[in-house]
């Protein structure tokens, strides 16, 4: 049996959904995008262009829930299938778009560079439990106007895993789409084999900005998958109760769904989010709070109730160091997320409220993810019944270390974390250098970088990517890109 955790009974879930519909139809949503407003108007929404406002209708909500696909797949840069977002399948992806990284040598949080990003792609290439890359942080050594597309460029060039990303402006969408077209060849091929997922955020409460709503439209037109990242902050920009926050999250996410699906019925989406409670003592948005994680799991249940694949920002930490807090918040989130069946689980590597990535943490989290993936395989009988023969064998042989049963099922029954999770006895641990977790993780980062093999993307595609990116850089006054020898 696959273990599953649930927080909402049917009655409560349905009430939350019906209240959210009420909010959409009676209070409506502010949308700073004339094209979208008039499209909604065409489908029967009551639109007020002066107030940038639309009142939804139940028909719009029903229509878009019906046209949204219940599953979709992702493919790596070489075109191989990597993800099937359906049912309770779960995949991990690193936390995206950090401002900073935690520097191993100085132990300080600093702005990242191109070299850090390349190292990141090399590490993520080798992490078996992290299924996709994300554009995890922003290299600070290029012009800020290209910093979103530049991350995608480096990712596509260096690592073959599909990419969870997002644009910071309307204009950036174009180059980011062109980079993907360079990899896939044609628009049709890109639509047939999606390579990226874009995060698009409504602004709580109940609003879409021109940038993020236009990103939704542009993605839909190219059938590029999006994840809606609604961020109600409980007690501040949303009701303090988890239920109230869920009503708001549902309304905001359904409004995004309508924009995508009316633009292009059937375009792939993830029912996602990054809600949080608001900590009134520190004015912060704790992602490691148990209540934040409960909201995540619960809206994922609502997404599943609609028959949609889901996403959440849930396995990350607010700590500033790779310490106990980092480990416990990340593993609590990862554990809950896999048990709830969140399809795309965002967060590994992330510290400091989505603000800081750490390669060492990413390596630790990879092992945490491995354990949680084992967890959901559950407990299954494997030639265990009848039990008598096995115990006769044990009593006779005095151990089962080389029993046929052991040899057959050892690796299925037990996940072997390491080299970061330490299970050596104390003497051996001491003899092997008495390394702390941070040091063990760093050693693993170094090993992954050393063993990295360049992506087998054809040379001509790489050259095309480079040409596109250099062209974009020139538009913003940069003669060359920081790394020449890629």
């Amino acid at each position: 049996m696959r273990p599953i955790v649930k927080f909402l009974d049917n009655e409560l879930l349905e009430r939350i959904v019906s209240e959210a519909r009420d909010v959409l139809c009676k209070l409506g949503v502010e949308i700073h995008n004339r094209g979208i407003l008039s499209m909604l108007g065409d489908y029967g929404a009551k639109v007020d262009m002066h107030r940038n406002h639309a009142l939804f209708t139940d028909e719009i909500i029903d229509r878009t829930l019906k046209s949204a696909p219940g599953s979709f797949k992702l493919y790596d840069v070489l075109g191989n299938e990597t993800h099937d977002f359906i049912g309770y399948n779960v995949y991990f992806t690193p936390g995206s778009a950090a401002l900073n990284i935690l520097d191993y040598k100085t132990r300080k949080i600093r702005k990242p560079t191109t070299m850090d990003y390349i190292k990141y792609t090399e590490v993520v290439s080798g992490l078996e439990n992290i299924a996709s890359q994300s554009t995890a942080f922003i290299p600070a050594d290029v012009n800020e106007n290209i910093s979103d597309s530049y991350r995608l460029y480096l990712s596509l060039l260096c690592c073959k895993k599909p990419v969870v990303t997002g644009a910071f402006s309307v204009e950036a969408f174009n180059i980011m789409k062109d980079l993907q077209l360079a990899v896939r060849g044609t628009r049709e091929k890109l639509a047939a084999k999606p390579l990226t997922i874009y995060s698009c955020c409504p602004t709580s409460p109940l609003k879409w900005s021109d940038v993020t709503s236009q990103n939704l439209v542009d993605c839909a037109l190219h059938s590029i998958p999006v994840e809606y990242v609604s961020m109600p902050l409980a007690g501040f920009m949303a009701p303090v109760t988890l239920v109230g926050t869920l009503v708001q999250h549902t309304a905001e996410t359904l409004s995004g769904l309508a924009i995508s699906q009316l633009t292009n019925p059937g375009t792939p989406i993830l029912y996602g989010g990054s809600p949080a409670i608001f900590d009134v003592r520190y004015e912060t948005t704790p992602m490691g709070a148990v209540e934040t994680q409960m909201i995540d799991c619960a809206y994922n249940e609502i997404g599943k109730h609609f028959g949609l694949p889901t996403q959440a920002y849930i396995s990350l930490s607010d700590s500033k160091r790779l310490d106990t807090q980092a480990g416990l918040e990340s593993s609590m989130g990862a554990t809950l997320a896999v048990l709830a069946g969140v399809n795309n689980i965002s967060g590994p590597g992330m510290l400091d409220f989505e603000n800081c990535q750490s390669l060492e943490k990413l390596v630790v989290d990879n092992e945490i993810c491995g354990m949680t993936l084992r967890l959901i395989k559950g407990i299954e009988p494997r030639e265990d019944f009848p039990a008598l023969p096995r115990f006769e064998e044990l009593l006779k042989e005095k151990h089962l270390l080389i029993s046929e049963h052991t040899l057959r099922y050892l690796r299925e029954e037990q996940y072997f974390p390491g080299p970061v999770i330490d299970r050596a006895n104390r003497a051996r641990w001491r003899e092997e250098g008495a390394l702390t977790l941070f040091k063990r993780a760093h050693r693993e980062v170094k090993r992954l970088v050393k063993e990295y093999e360049p992506s087998r993307l054809p040379g001509e595609v790489k050259r095309e990517l480079k040409k596109l990116m250099e062209g974009e850089a020139r538009r913003y006054g940069m003669d060359s890109l920081p790394s020449r020898d890629l």
Binding site: L99, K111, I138, A140, E144, N145, S147, D148, F168, S169, T203, S209, V211, L233, F236, M237, V280, R281, Y282, E283, F353, N355
Partner: protein
Amino acid sequence: MDILKQISENLRGGNDKKVLEFTKLAIEQKIPPKDILDDGLIAGMDTVGKLFKAHEIFLPDVLLAAKAMYSGMDELKPILIREGIPTIGKVVIGTIQGDLHDIGKNLVGIMLKGAGFEVIDLGNDVSPEKFVERAKKENAKVIGMSALLTTTMQGMRKVIDLLNERGLSGEIKTIIGGAPVSEEFAREIGADAYGYDAASAVDRVKKLTREK
């Protein structure tokens, strides 16, 4: 208890009706308006600020106190203006061009207002020209800028350059904040101060307005 103390204590408790009542009483009893402001309202908010920093009270308590402060302030303001008594100063705040994150900026605005500043909030996606022109027009002492994106933080430099260009940098001070910026970045772009949360913003803006 004397009236000013009543004002500041009730303010601390977030009791806006009582703050209004005692402010009216103080005005009736001809207590100098400057004293009502300094020793009543602002003194109360100072205590609230300290308790908040010490984690003895939480943000909602501060906002309730700020609301109570406005109720007294609304009564007092016409008198202060009539008698030509300056308020502690005007601050123009906004989120920088291209950036839509305004939650942190809003909090900073509420707290500055609570501390007695007149706050002109330009909203988000604010161009350098708008920051500078509005600050000049309003005779503001400080411009407060917020950025949450690496792509927009450089826009802060443009505001400061524009102030320099127009010879206003001595007159109008600048303070910056938001997750991607730091004390060092403030120094690098020539901002006068950096604040990491709403309470620190109040401290530093107070310092800036006292400096001249």
